[in-house]
């Protein structure tokens, strides 16, 4: 057995048993699925060979799962260049991409590579933003997309802090595209782990249970003091992600934002959204009340006026009668 998945099989038996409990404990204080799987990327090991990209394209172009999760087949030559420049990003024809950086931390000349794809957030912004529930956080860890309901509003793209979802702008019937951590392929038995992890010759990617990956990450960090920065990117960012990174250079220098904070995205809107029913209940009562009062006031004013007129007439009459 290769080292990259040793963590995955340990404790696999308990994974299914506990997944149900996490679901039941949903709602606002969601802590994530305890036995979900994820991937750890180690920037110090990656050589920018882009075998991972190739593996991703192969499995997702050859296996038609759903019309919206099938990528166009690419020529292997397309992956020749060693790590794309730092400004390149994924588009709708790919789920992942390896960028090349020349970080200041290493003098600005030595390349460091980073693989970008969906982070598979524990509490995904995309899923919370989608108004047709097209995204699912699976108990296995992946965040999957169901194109059969997608309207194409692209609010998911606005919401995602890592600008992950892409859109098929050039198609007349477009869909969102996003890495699904090979969830459909693992489910169908096509592969035991994400194709990119399998393809990596450097073991820069490790597949396993999220909790174990965090332990492994910290073990690596402490094993060679000074080699890594003492931070596991994704352990807490935006509430935690299932795809995590460790690195020998500051994360901001390999295109990973360090200013995102720890608050899960759904929490940013849930407070305000919670007030909506209050408005819906309180407003009609208030407005109805105001309307009643103004109506009553106007009626009283009208009555008073009529009374005054009647009195005046009576007085006039009395005077005339005299």
């Amino acid at each position: 057995m290769k080292r990259r998945n040793f963590l995955g099989l340990a404790g696999a038996a308990t994974a299914t048993a506990l997944a149900g409990k996490a679901q039941a404990a949903g709602g606002h204080s969601f802590d994530g699925y305890p036995n979900s799987y994820g991937v750890l990327f180690d920037a110090s090991r990656c050589i920018g060979c882009r075998q991972c990209e190739m593996g991703c394209n192969k499995i997702n172009s050859e296996n038609v799962t759903e019309p919206w999760t099938t990528l166009p087949k690419k020529d292997p030559k397309a992956f020749d260049e060693k790590g794309l420049n730092a400004t390149a990003r994924t588009d709708a024809s790919m789920y992942t991409l390896v960028n090349k950086y020349e970080p200041q931390a290493l003098g600005g000349k030595t390349p460091v590579f980073k693989k970008a794809q969906c982070m598979h957030c524990k509490e995904p912004a995309c899923a919370s933003a989608c108004f047709v529930k097209a995204f699912t956080k699976t108990p296995e860890g992946a965040v999957t997309y169901n194109g059969s309901v997608c309207v194409g509003c692209r609010y998911c793209m606005v919401a995602c802090p890592w600008d992950v979802p892409t859109y098929e702008f050039n198609k007349l019937i477009p869909y969102v595209q996003k890495c699904h951590m090979c969830h459909p392929h693992i489910k169908s038995g096509k592969t035991t782990m994400p194709a990119c992890v399998k393809a990596c010759p450097m073991e820069a990617l490790t597949w396993g249970k999220r909790e174990d990956l965090i332990k492994e990450a910290w073990a690596r960090i402490s094993s060679v003091p000074g080699r890594y920065l003492p931070h596991v990117y994704g352990e807490r960012e935006m509430g935690g992600t299932n795809w995590m990174y460790i690195s020998n250079v500051p994360f901001a220098q390999i295109g990973l934002r360090e200013d995102l904070g720890k608050t899960p995205a759904p929490e940013m809107t849930s407070g305000a959204l919670g007030l909506v029913p209050l408005v819906a209940c309180l407003w009609p009562v208030l407005l109805g009340g105001i309307w009643q009062i103004t109506k009553w006031k106007d009626e009283r004013a009208e009555e008073d006026k009529q009374k005054a007129v009647a009195e005046a007439i009576a007085q006039e009459r009395a005077k005339a009668g005299k």
Binding site: R89, Y155, F169, K171, L172, T269, I290
Partner: protein
């Protein structure tokens, strides 16, 4: 035009002839005639149709827009949706003032405001068909797969319900015209219920449009990102709505004078003064509301920092403080000219604010060359949509009793 020239009652066609007008809409000759009389409007219309065909049948979103994976929302959201909805707020503000708070003299503003709001919202929905990738699925969030955790779901639901409410509120204009007074009568009985529903739904979705951005603090400039965005959007929508009523009231007054009954002409200035006072008070409050998050979250440093700080200051002083002041002066000195100027600045200010939130101050983490600028075709669609609103407004107010009471009411106690 003289203030004392209150004109005569406008002519409203009898129902038999109304159907004739409707039938003429099916006749291409009507349009050719119109095209001859209004070449510019027709040209805009034609170009709009060409871009529409390109958007839906040939080029798709890529062939019409400058949208990309980093910039999923462009001016069809910034202008058509955000500004469109804010500027159509005249419907709920006017009906609230006239029918709930019973402010005298606003009665004549109700029908034009409802018509504008109805057309505004109907065309917001129309413009969204261009923007979303699969427009035929637009009913999905409400009828098929409800994503209740999404702010956009709330926006969608409220807008859908509110368009329906506005349609019902507007319908009597039509049914009176074609001689179906019975329907009008039933609707008039529900006026207060409809008005309250309209206000509730407006409160909800006007604020929700600001709420949309709460999920993306990491993409927005801190001067515009705030937990108060929903409140700010709601409060500013009131100003937007009333300013727009003043703004178009002025234009209609100019071009539709012959369609206005003496009462409508006479009350016109009264509407102006009532709204000027309200706008000046609300703008005053809004001005201070905008400082609260700055002070509370200690964002002072950003105000004097570069172009964003400058834009924020322009918005605050040029587009909030100044119209607030002008409205107050206009109200005190009974100067309709000053009020109209204040209304124009306020309308521009709302557009500026919505652009700042959703466009200029959004996605600022991207490199300059990655930032969004609309394509010509995107702008054409927006202009096209505005033109369609104007054409519909003109047609409806030309034939139906929008600026007058329908003759069938003159016998009753109305």
């Amino acid at each position: 035009m003289s203030q004392h020239d209150h004109g005569a009652q406008p002519v409203i066609l009898p129902p038999q002839e109304a159907w004739g007008v409707i039938k003429s809409l099916l006749n291409p000759v009507t349009y050719l005639k119109f095209a001859k009389e209004h070449p510019i409007l027709s040209l805009i219309f034609l170009v709009g149709v060409v871009v529409t065909v390109n958007r839906f049948l040939i080029g798709g979103l890529a062939g019409t827009t400058n949208l990309d994976d980093n910039n999923p929302w462009g001016i069809w959201i910034s202008f058509d949706l955000l500004c469109g909805v804010a500027l159509a707020a005249g419907g709920y503000t006017t009906t609230a003032g006239a029918l709930i708070f019973n402010i005298k003299g606003l009665r004549t503003a109700v029908k034009p405001a409802i018509l504008t709001a109805f057309l505004g919202y109907a065309f917001v929905v129309y413009a969204l068909l261009y923007d979303v990738g699969q427009p035929w699925r637009l009913p999905y969030p409400v009828f098929w797969s409800q994503g209740t955790s999404s702010v956009l779901f709330e926006v969608g639901l409220c807008v859908m319900l509110y368009v329906t409410v506005l349609m019902i509120e507007w319908l009597p204009n039509f049914t009176d015209w074609v001689g179906m007074q019975k329907i009008s009568h039933v609707i008039h009985k529900c006026t207060i219920a409809l008005t309250i529903m309209g206000i509730v739904l407006s409160t909800m979705h006007q604020s929700s449009l600001g709420m949309l951005y709460l999920i993306a603090p990491h993409k927005m400039h801190p001067l515009w990102y705030s937990a108060h965005l929903p409140l700010q959007f709601f409060v500013s929508s009131m100003v937007a709505g009333m300013s727009m009523v003043i703004f178009e009231g002025t234009i209609s007054h100019h071009y539709m004078h012959s369609r206005m009954s003496p009462e409508y002409n006479r009350d016109h200035d009264g509407v102006l003064f009532a709204f000027a006072k309200a706008c000046s008070i609300i703008l005053f409050g809004y001005f201070f509301m905008k400082w609260v998050p700055i002070a509370g979250e200690n964002k002072w440093g950003y105000i004097f920092d570069g172009k964003y700080g400058l834009m924020w200051l322009i918005e605050m002083f040029g587009f909030i403080a100044i119209p607030c002041f002008l409205y107050a002066v206009g109200y005190r000195s009974r100067s309709t000219g000053t009020i109209k100027a204040a209304a124009t600045i306020s309308v521009l200010g709302i557009v500026f604010n919505r652009f700042n939130v959703s466009w200029f101050g959004f996605n600022i983490h991207l490199r300059p060359e990655q930032q969004y600028f609309p394509s010509v075709q995107e702008v054409i669609v927006s202009v096209f949509v505005v033109t369609l609103i104007i054409l519909c407004f003109r047609f409806i107010s030309k034939y139906m009793a929008i600026f007058s009471d329908h003759p069938s009411y003159s016998k009753g106690h109305h």
